[in-house]
């Protein structure tokens, strides 16, 4: 029974979706890349989008409402973000693999309760709660503390990228960061756990032990939810898709998808 959801449908907004499709359709499931708070589709367009297509998968990167090229939505909630993901996923020609980064992984986890994904990949997942907040506070007190009082959460360059990324690139990416809606940020701290996923999709969790947003313990915790262990990429920052060695994690994801289709109805 979802009387509340039925009675109060999420309002539609214009959503930005960037795509790259392979020249030859090989019957592989499409990937839907969901960015975390503050990021937009641009974060994937930089490196991953084209690479995924070059490896024969259709790739779609979206911006949650209020982010990137999607319409502004200052009152957005986690539910609205998950709604955006499910809307885009259901609009794709075939059952999609959901890939979520940072808090986008939490959004994907919520979306998985409303859409039977082919598989899901949680990249440096931020599942929220006070522990995550504590880490963020320690690493970047001036960016984090105001968020408690309703201002935007600000992440700095050194939290997001490793030292290997050229300074100019780091500065350019950090300059594009936006912010999530206040209510959604608050829900990240206090919100309820996602409902169980529908359709029993296989889930891969990956991240970096040197991530300064997601501590290793949080990574393990997230992976345990889905009865697995995280795949680790030492030396990388939180934004694995923008960091200097972006190629390694995405290749690992695609290899996993090829090797471990998980369900027998994978074409």
């Amino acid at each position: 029974m979802r009387s509340w959801e039925w009675a109060r449908p999420v309002r539609p907004v214009r959503r930005e979706v960037l795509s790259a499709v392979p020249e030859l359709e090989e019957g592989r499931p499409p990937l839907l890349l969901v960015p975390g708070f503050g990021h937009g589709a641009w974060a994937y367009a930089e490196n991953w989008l084209g690479h995924v297509a070059a490896r024969g998968f259709s790739a779609y990167a979206m911006s949650l409402r209020g982010h990137g090229g999607s319409a502004p939505a200052p009152e957005a909630t986690l539910r609205a973000y998950a709604h955006d993901v499910v809307q885009v996923a259901a609009g794709l020609p075939r059952r999609a693999v959901l890939v979520g980064h940072g808090a986008g992984a939490l959004v994907v986890a919520h979306a998985m309760a409303r859409y039977p994904a082919q598989a899901a990949v949680l990249v440096a997942p931020v599942f929220g709660g006070w522990a995550t907040f504590g880490t963020a506070l320690r690493r970047n007190p001036f960016g984090t503390l105001p968020a408690v009082f309703g201002a935007g959460l600000r992440l700095n360059r050194r939290q997001l990228f490793s030292g290997e990324l050229p300074e100019a690139d780091a500065r350019r990416h950090a300059g594009r960061l936006g912010r999530a809606a206040r209510r959604a940020q608050w829900q990240l701290l206090t919100g309820t756990d996602p409902e169980p996923a529908v359709g029993d999709p296989p889930v891969l969790v990956l991240g970096s032990p040197d991530d300064r947003v997601v501590p290793a313990a949080a990574l393990n915790r997230a992976a345990r939810r889905y009865a697995s262990a995280p795949l680790l990429f030492p030396g990388m920052g939180h934004d694995l898709m923008l960091d200097a060695r972006w190629r390694e994690p995405i290749d690992a994801i695609l290899d996993w998808l090829i090797k471990n289709p998980g369900r027998d109805d994978l074409g």
Binding site: M1, S3, W6, A7, P12, A90, R94, R95, R114, G267
Partner: protein, 468 residues
């Protein structure tokens, strides 16, 4: 005509060749489940069974998916102007939403594209045998079933396959329910059932009598008000004509807001009566009979325009028909009217012509099976019916959960037979259970369900099945 969905696809693989009771060969399909019909209910059965790891063969007599919602299908009851009566959130599958920029009440052509996208998104067509009609379904011991099919229209040979389970999703809005009247055979005017009504051009310039005030009857009366030279609307009782919008929102969404707030039925009825009273007003002044029941006690009508046209005099409400004369129709109040065209929008009857009625507990064969949750069959744990519900909301979310329940039941039979056996006892005990408040006794209300009561009961059953 090729019956295979893809050219060059081999026939279903035969593992063993068994013999049917009459000695004809039967191809054994092992653990595969058979789904009859690729309308909305059949599609969601195919998807959910496949998702639970079952092999599925679906037979569909038409050449496309979506059943009633493809108005080119010869049995589709949908007419050119059909829009949903249940708003989008109540009508979409719970795990495959309709695009959120669609209107609150989408058009039937949008529904068709929705079901086609559902079939493609989840790659369902490879399970479906189009242009193939199921003519017989027989139990063969061990809870297995022999399903006999042939090309639609009766061409070609029959073939029989043996399945581990069967889902019946053949729809319940295609076999017209036609009332009998004295003198109908002698009537010189044109008579049709709503099932053959497609387009308002059929009404243009004629004097039309529409019989029945289900949603079909109301829609056709409204079209007649605009197209026909005269429109009478005959009903055998008074109804609550609910608008599609109240307080600026789709009416069903307002109702569920009250449900979410756990407002009891009596209070909701009272609120509803008040709201209708204040907005639609007292209808008896138009000559409409006073409803003989409370709201929610008949299948809801969602039509904002009927009352509008009654108020404009373009629809004349009249009582039930007493008898037909060659050139006129006599009403129960003694009045005589002279329509050229009579449209019977008197509803449809469920039919399971391929199955012995006793199996579904429908001993008299009147299309009223005795089931639990309107889906599970006592003493036949591997048989289910989906979509046989008439909810005060959309059918598809209910059909989805029915399919999930049946898929999990089949999986439980394999993994925990004792649990499945205990569940079977429950099916037996629960057969015939109802999921609505009190409803008016009428031929159409035996499978009326309140979506909230029904989904809660289904949820309980799912939990029960998964319990230790």
């Amino acid at each position: 005509m090729p019956t295979s969905p893809e050219p060059g696809r081999p026939d279903p693989e035969t593992t063993t060749l068994a013999r049917g009771p009459d000695g004809r060969p039967v191809s054994d399909r092992g653990d595969t489940v058979c789904v009859i019909g690729a309308g909305a209910s059949g599609l969601t059965a195919v998807k959910n069974l496949a998702e639970h790891g079952f092999g599925v063969d679906c037979y569909e007599r038409e050449t496309g998916v979506a059943g009633a919602w493809n108005w080119r299908h010869d049995r589709s009851p949908v007419y050119a102007s059909t829009h949903l009566i249940s708003s989008r959130p109540f009508t979409q599958f719970p795990d495959f939403p309709m695009p959120d920029h669609w209107p609150d009440y989408p058009h039937h052509s949008q529904l068709l594209s929705y079901f086609e996208r559902y079939a493609d998104h989840f790659d369902l067509r490879r399970h479906i045998w189009f242009g193939t009609e199921v003519v017989r379904v027989e139990p063969v011991g061990d809870d297995r079933w022999d399903v006999t099919t042939r090309s639609t229209g009766g061409y070609g040979p029959e073939r029989t396959s043996r399945y581990a389970a069967v889902v019946i999703a053949n729809g319940h809005n295609w076999s017209p329910k036609l009332p009998r009247y004295e003198g109908l055979e002698q009537f010189r005017g044109e008579v049709m059932h709503a099932s053959s009504y497609k387009d308002s051009a059929q009404l243009r310039g004629k004097r039309v009598l529409v019989v029945g005030a289900g949603n079909t009857g109301c829609d056709i009366a409204v079209e007649a008000a605009q197209q026909a030279s005269r429109c009478w609307h005959s009903t055998r009782r008074g109804y609550w004509y609910a608008p599609k919008y109240v307080f600026g929102r789709p009416a069903d969404q307002v109702n569920d807001l009250l449900l979410a707030l756990r407002v009891p039925l009596r209070v909701r009825q009272w609120l509803y009566h008040r709201t209708l009273r204040l907005t639609v007003g007292d209808l008896t002044r138009f000559g409409l009979p006073k409803p003989d029941h409370r709201v929610y006690e008949t299948h809801p009508i969602a039509n904002s325009l009927l009352v509008y046209h009654v108020g404009h005099g373009t629809i004349t409400p009249v009582p039930d028909i007493a008898r037909f004369h060659p050139h006129s129709v006599e009403l129960t109040d003694g009045r005589q009217i002279d329509p050229e065209l009579v449209v019977f929008a008197t509803g449809y009857l469920p039919r399971f012509e391929f199955l012995d009625g006793k199996i579904l507990g429908d001993d008299e064969g009147v299309g009223r099976p005795r089931l639990w949750l309107n889906a599970l069959v006592p003493d036949h744990p591997t048989l289910a019916v989906t979509g046989l519900v008439q909810p005060d909301s959309g059918i598809f979310p209910l059909a989805h959960w029915q399919a999930v329940l049946f898929a999990r039941l089949l999986a439980t039979r394999a993994s925990r037979p004792e649990r499945a056996a205990a569940f079977a006892a429950q099916v037996r005990a629960g057969a015939g259970e109802r999921y609505s408040g009190q409803v008016k006794d009428s031929t159409r209300h035996w499978f009326e369900v309140g979506h909230a009561d029904y989904l809660r009961a289904l949820e309980r059953a799912l939990r029960e099945l998964e319990s230790k």
